[in-house]
């Protein structure tokens, strides 16, 4: 059985934005009552996760790049919130 989920943001009663789902992909029952994430990437699609993991594979310098990427994502998220409220 298939159903789609998508990125959705919602503000709770305290006014804090909550990311309901961060995945845009399909879920499928695995036959044991659990749902399993299934991704279908196109032939020439590098895959976002596959791009990031290469930084980590590149050693210490690469791990630093990956850490910087995640740090910027975190900072960006907090920076966006005042705009969301306003």
């Amino acid at each position: 059985m298939w159903r789609r989920s998508s990125v959705r943001c919602q503000r709770n009663k305290w006014g804090v934005t909550v990311e309901i789902l961060t995945l845009d992909c399909r879920w499928r029952h695995d036959g044991e009552g659990r749902e399993r994430l299934v991704m279908h990437l196109a032939y020439l699609d590098a895959g976002s996760g596959s791009l990031i993991v290469q930084a980590v594979v590149g050693g210490v310098a690469g791990a630093a790049v990956a850490a910087k990427l995640y740090w910027r994502r975190l900072v960006d998220r907090f920076r966006r919130q005042p705009t969301d409220r306003g």
């Binding site: 961060t22 992909c25 996760g49 596959s50 990031i52 590149g58 630093a64 910027r72």
Partner: protein
């Protein structure tokens, strides 16, 4: 006038990258390029690294030709013809590893020159004998600084993961690749490498971290992530370090030795020295009679004894062996000998490679590709007819189906009273194969082709036939 009217045949396996497409015109292999791909080609052709790779035989020979031969394309390339197209699920472990190392070497040499490859598929590689060659010239594209390799995911799925399966778990990777044209996904691999297996070389990063990253970033577009990585300082040097890291890992991987009945077959199969010498003379004369054939198939090659004899007189020999360990041993031996003509392949004759991918034709089946001047079927009839219960007439039909019109088949019939045939018959209910007789076999041959000569081996329990079809 359509393309087929002027003898242009589209390669059914080349549609994935719309920027270029492969065509066959007679014996020529041509590639049409769109305007952007034509500009990339102009830059590539002028780069030193590409010229050196072609000169070293690591990339297939390529030249630009008059674009009028393929109407509708901005530029047209002509490629060197590969003797026999094979698929990664027909390669042994050592072959897949050497193919992976060549792909990585090409990328490592392209990056400093400002180029990368769009993809990282095992299907980018083919073989001249036991030498891998990179064939997807359309995959080269100028490198945008700060971008990781777009082909990494494909490289993992079609090259690295199959190698990890064999090296760490002792599982033959061929059935996995044969059933999935895009290879094995990280999610599948993660379930195979649980517990302490998570810590095996290459598994924590390329399998578990990769799978987790794919899931966590499934909602992010590749373009956004590329921009974020560039802003975070991802550099060409880092891309090179990544490639070197994967190369180091792939070099460490090796096949786990598993006992195989076929590894020792030549020693245990019971030939006398006279039988063997007679058989070698018969095979050599048959191949020589074909007059420098372009392609010889050795069906059931084992240690490659007769493939080597055929290679003395043929341009290319494909040695088909069902046991992956035996095929791998043959591959390594041929590499050590510096052989240039024999291509070992892993395939069960009772279950030959079917057509695969889109429409079942993207990856051509063995029967479509096998068009040889000579086929050798030595000591395999009894394995198929008794061991696998294939009707004797259908065994002969399959062998003859591998030949071009006028082609020759050298086939050995092992009599029911031969020790090897008796051993196989002993495992079956009595009287199950009343038709497995020499006279029946000869009648089947005579009904389908012309027997040029035949010879009973000195032991008196095996007969060789040289037959010719369709003339």
């Amino acid at each position: 006038m359509t393309s087929s009217d002027i003898g242009i045949r589209v390669d059914p396996g080349s549609f994935r990258d719309p920027a270029n497409r492969v065509f066959h015109v007679g014996d020529q292999v041509l590639r049409g390029l769109d305007p952007q791909a034509a500009r990339d080609w102009a830059a590539l052709a002028g780069s030193g690294f590409f010229t050196r790779l072609v000169a070293e035989g690591k990339v297939c020979g390529t030249e630009q030709v008059d674009p009028a031969v393929l109407p509708g394309w901005a530029a047209v390339l002509r490629h060197e013809r590969i003797p026999f197209v094979s698929h990664p699920y027909e390669w042994s472990f050592g072959m897949l590893r050497d193919a992976a190392l060549l792909h990585l070497e090409i990328l490592r040499r392209a990056l400093p020159a400002g180029f990368t490859t769009k993809d990282g598929s095992a299907y980018n590689l083919q073989w001249r004998g036991v030498t891998p060659v990179f064939i997807d010239v359309g995959s080269f594209t100028p490198l945008a600084d700060g971008e990781p390799w777009a082909g990494y995911r494909q490289f993992c799925q079609t090259l690295l993961y199959p190698l990890l399966l064999q090296a760490h778990l002792g599982l033959d990777f061929q059935p996995w690749l044969r059933s999935r044209v895009d290879g094995i996904e990280p999610d599948q691999m993660r379930r195979l490498f649980r517990g302490a297996r998570r810590l095996l070389p290459g598994v924590p990063t390329h399998v578990h971290l990769h799978g987790a990253m794919q899931q966590r970033n499934a909602g992010a577009s590749s373009a956004d992530v590329r921009a974020q990585l560039r802003a975070a300082g991802y550099s060409r040097q880092l891309a090179l370090a990544t490639v070197r890291g994967i190369e180091k890992l792939v070099r460490r991987l090796d096949r786990r030795e598993e006992p195989s009945h076929w590894v020792d077959y030549q020693r245990t199969c019971g030939y006398t020295a006279q039988d063997r010498a007679e058989k070698e003379r018969f095979v050599e004369a048959a191949v020589r009679a074909a007059g420098a054939p372009r392609l010889v198939l050795d069906l059931g090659a084992n240690d490659g004894r007769y493939a080597r004899i055929a290679a003395r007189h043929a341009a290319a020999v494909v040695a088909v062996e069902q046991d992956p360990a035996v095929a791998d041993t043959l591959y390594r031996a041929l590499r050590a000998e510096g052989d240039q003509r024999i291509l070992p392949l892993v395939m069960d004759l009772a279950d030959p490679s079917p057509g695969g991918g889109w429409g079942g034709v993207e990856r051509a089946g063995f029967s479509t590709r096998a068009r040889a001047e000579v086929a050798l079927a030595l000591a395999v009839v009894h394995h198929l007819a008794i061991g696998r219960n294939v009707p004797l007439g259908q065994v002969v039909d399959q062998f003859l189906g591998c030949l071009r019109p006028g082609g020759r088949l050298v086939v050995e019939f092992v009599h029911p009273e031969d020790p090897m045939a008796r051993r196989l018959l002993a495992n079956k209910p009595d009287g199950l194969f009343p038709e497995y007789r020499r006279d029946v076999f000869e009648r089947l041959l005579a009904a389908r082709c012309r027997v040029e000569r035949q010879r009973e081996l000195p032991s008196g329990t095996r007969t060789l036939y040289q037959v010719v079809v369709g003339d």
